[in-house]
């Protein structure tokens, strides 16, 4: 118990601070990619409605993949996520 006040002070110090940077970034979606892709995430990645037609999915996939292709300096991890999203929505 004597360490309680010390612990409280430490915990208070570790509370995430509201600085200008976190406020500026607060409009972005939180966290990383979901451990297992859902329809919701797939549609967010391709920026289309979860009920979009297969033609629309293919069209949007081509557009998003073109700019994120690893051959053009894109990240292979993001490209893999885009592929996964297309596969899930095309099912």
């Amino acid at each position: 118990m004597p360490h309680l006040s010390q612990r409280m002070a430490e915990a208070y110090k570790n509370v995430p601070k509201l600085n200008s940077q976190t406020l500026a970034n607060s409009k972005y979606y939180k966290g990383g990619f979901e451990p297992k892709m859902t329809r919701r995430e797939a549609s967010l990645i391709l920026d289309i409605s979860p009920t979009a037609s297969k033609v629309k999915v293919k069209q949007q996939f081509k557009k998003i993949m073109a700019v994120n292709h690893p051959d053009k300096g894109g990240s292979p991890y993001i490209a893999a996520k885009i592929n996964e999203a297309k596969d899930l929505l095309e099912k």
Binding site: Y29, G31, I45, N68
Partner: protein, 133 residues
């Protein structure tokens, strides 16, 4: 009748307490394993805390920005700028992908910050040691 009722209540409580204790033990073991995986000690704890705070693991952040280590500062900055630009919403990019790039950069910045400041626990230990000397 009342005797049996009391017996049943006692047995029921025992089962619940045992199950709770087992769940607690498993939870502690899991969190220790997670801390151990990241190198253990104060550094490992800090690593897990940062993962939790930003909601993204350092490994994933590095993968998103297509680099291998946090000290590739130039490559991180270059890839971040490039990926943010090509995925910009005004050019028809996906806002969700852009968000993940921002969070990956945030996570790496967090790691660089903790690398500069030594973990608080070992620091206080050193202070104690110097006091004893």
């Amino acid at each position: 009748m009342a005797k049996h009722l009391v017996q049943i209540i006692i047995m029921g409580t025992q089962v619940v307490v045992k199950a709770f204790a087992r769940a607690l033990r498993q939870e502690i073991a899991a969190s220790q394993a997670a801390a151990h995986k990241t190198g253990g000690g104060a550094r490992g704890t800090q690593h897990v805390a940062a993962n939790y705070k930003t909601g993204i693991s350092l490994e994933e952040a590095l993968q998103i920005l297509n680099v291998e280590r946090v000290d590739q500062v130039d490559a991180i900055e270059r890839n971040y700028k490039y990926l943010m630009e090509v995925n910009d919403r005004s050019k028809g990019g996906s806002f969700y992908i852009q968000s993940k790039i921002v969070r990956a950069k945030e996570r790496i910045d967090e790691e660089l910050k903790t690398m500069k400041t030594p973990p608080p626990n070992s620091n206080s230990k050193q202070q104690n040691a110097s006091k004893q000397l």
